[in-house]
Amino acid sequence: MSRFLVDRDGETHVRLAEGMELTKSQAVLAAVGFVALLIVPDITRFTPLSFTAIHRGILFGLAAVGLNLLLRHTELVSFGHAAFFGVGAYAAAVLASQFDVSSGLLLLLGGVLAATTISVLIGYFVASYLDIYFALLTLAFNQVLYAFVLQSGYFNYSDGLNVRPDGLNPPALFGLQLSSTGYELVLYYFTVVVLIVSLLVMWKLVNSPFGRALDAIGQNRTRARFVGIPVEKYVWVAFVISGIYGGLAGGLFALLQLHVSPEATLYAFVSGEILFMAILGGFGTLVGPVIGGVVLVYLLVQAPFYIEYYNALTGLTLLAVVLFLPEGILGSIPKIGTGLSRRRRDPGLLREDLATIGSSLRRGVSRAVTTVRIIVFGVN
């Protein structure tokens, strides 16, 4: 066994660093994902796929990765994550348009710092709340921010701000003033680097003692407190970390769109979308939220160009995920894989599947009939 391959539980694992190991199929998936990320600009040149939409999806996915720290480990549903995304984007926009900061990295740094400050503040208030109250309180803070930005002349009301320091050109990246195509490409590869570093950091984080403590908090707060975990403080820290991810994504979003508006970055439904990306991609996995981000942004932003009833398409996709793929897209791959290989070995299972589908259809119809009867004849 070499330095990068270890044997564990009778299976070969690929080892990236101390404590970071992948099974063979995970390593293949990761490699495929990595290559796919790198060749996205080429793919979009030869196919009708939209480069900007994929880029944007990755950014929202990055915010969803941050949210997933709360969702997966502390089991808190944050419905106000657009606050950090929006604050990150707006901080970059304000720096660019009001203070003429032209360096893209400085703008990003400003966005991250602003999001950190806001998440420290909000986290202080929400850390001790649970369940639906946590969700609604984060939503409330998000909407207060939204209302504040929407009605403030400094942020140019609902029209939003441009992220063009001299009023014309995009900010400089790494000291270079690039043409628009070059700017997009450089920004994309910068995003990829940021994404991979963020994912690795998140992986390290959730596998650290801190991550384990968050798991414990998610499972049972009282017990976690009993074994000596400072619950509120840890939740607060986790909240701030996820806020930093949101701010990073928001800052990059401002650099990508070169325009920031309250509707697109701060509205409550952006929070909802970030949450749904995590679930859609599979919130039990690390990379799932990114995939969910790309898929959902694509459905919401690109589908209108192809069909008229794009909302219904998105809605039906979400319904299908909830009813048939509760683990999300990425989380279901192992299950689907084993299911398929079992069916290949034993064709008799297919007949059972058909029977299951038939009986569930029958049950659905009889339920519908009952419902109609209840509605027509009243209850009891």
Binding site: L71, V77, F125, Y129, D131, I132, Y133, A135, L136, L137, L139, A140, F141, Q143, V144, Y146, A147, F148, L150, Q151, S152, A268, F269, G272, L275, F276, I279, L280, F283, E308, Y309, Y310, N311, A312, T314, G315, L316, T317, L318, L319, V321, V322, L323, P326, G364, R367, A368, T370, T371, V372, I374, I375, V379, N380
Partner: protein
């Protein structure tokens, strides 16, 4: 000042009709229904078809008597509109909500969000993408109520405030005095026990969801008759606002929803003329304040209608 308060009461009554449906659905079924705003919008759109048809059958008002007849016809029309929502709500509950009662709340949010999107497009399919305006408001304003007592105020708004109070009274009566209402409350408090004593929880849940949809549709019809037009996406703001209301009042509490909507309605309408920049923020500032001081809301009681 009085006019602002009355405007606030009008706004609060509409809000109450939407929020009450949402709060009883949450209180009994435990589902935070994101599609509720779209049920309200569906009510507004259906009102365009149903009331447009019914009001076309009577002459436009000329004197007090014909005006009152016209008003009654429109009221019957809005009831008929809301009745359209009963089967819709029942079918939605039976087909989509029922399989996910025992799942994580994130799935419930995701599913109802999916329903929201689908319903939006259903309305787009039926009524087209542009807003529709019913505009029978002027006809109802012929009813001479408010000028009689010396205030010049649209009588339609007074009419809606009275209906809001009537809806609240009916709901309190239903859950407090009727057998079905008590059974629903029993189901909300303890599902296993009520199943054990022979109550069909499935039926109860379908019924409750249908009632919730009914009142959302009723609110939609009221807005659609009034100065507002029915447009796609009209449900979103009201959805977020009714969140605010039921959180201020306490999740699942009917009294809370009533007090919360009046509070939100009046405060936002009274504050707005003086500090226009606070218009959107007022409800949310109220909500943050209430949550920080009294996390369970003003009338908070878990999973129980009261």
């Amino acid at each position: 000042m009085l006019e602002h308060v009355l405007n606030g009461l009008y706004y609060g009554s509409i809000l109450f009709m939407i929020a009450s449906g949402m709060t009883i659905i949450f209180g009994v079924l435990g589902i935070l229904n994101l599609a509720h705003g779209e049920l309200y919008a569906l009510g507004a759109f259906s009102a365009f078809s149903v009331i447009g048809f019914i009001a076309g059958q009577v002459a436009a008002p000329t004197g007090p008597v014909t005006a009152i007849v016209f008003g009654l016809v429109v009221l019957a029309g809005s009831l008929a509109t809301a009745a359209v929502l009963l089967p819709v709500g029942g079918a939605l509950e039976a087909a989509f909500i029922r399989p996910i009662y025992d799942r994580d709340e994130v799935y419930q949010l995701l599913l109802t969000y999916g329903l929201l999107l689908v319903l939006t497009d259903v309305m787009k399919f039926v009524w087209g993408p542009s807003p529709v305006d019913l505009g029978v408001f002027g006809g109802i304003n012929e009813i001479p109520t408010t000028e009689l007592v010396g205030i010049n105020y649209p009588s339609y708004n007074v009419f809606v405030i009275l209906i809001g109070v009537a809806v609240f009274a009916w709901l309190v009566w239903f859950f407090d005095r009727t057998k079905t209402g008590r059974i629903v409350r029993a189901t909300a408090i303890n599902r296993e026990m009520s199943t054990a004593i022979g109550i069909s929880t499935d039926r109860m849940f379908t019924l409750v969801f249908a009632i919730g949809a009914f009142f959302a549709g009723f609110g939609g019809a009221m807005v659609s008759i009034g100065p507002g037009s029915a447009s796609l996406g009209m449900g979103l703001d009201w959805l977020v606002l009714s969140f605010v209301v039921i959180v201020i009042g306490g999740l699942g509490s009917l009294n809370g929803a009533f007090v919360g909507s009046i509070l939100v309605g009046v405060s936002s309408r009274v504050v707005t003329p003086y500090y226009p920049q606070l218009e959107l923020a007022v409800p949310f500032l109220l909500m943050v304040l209430v949550l920080l001081l009294k996390p369970e809301g003003l009338y908070g009681a878990w999973g129980e209608i009261q």
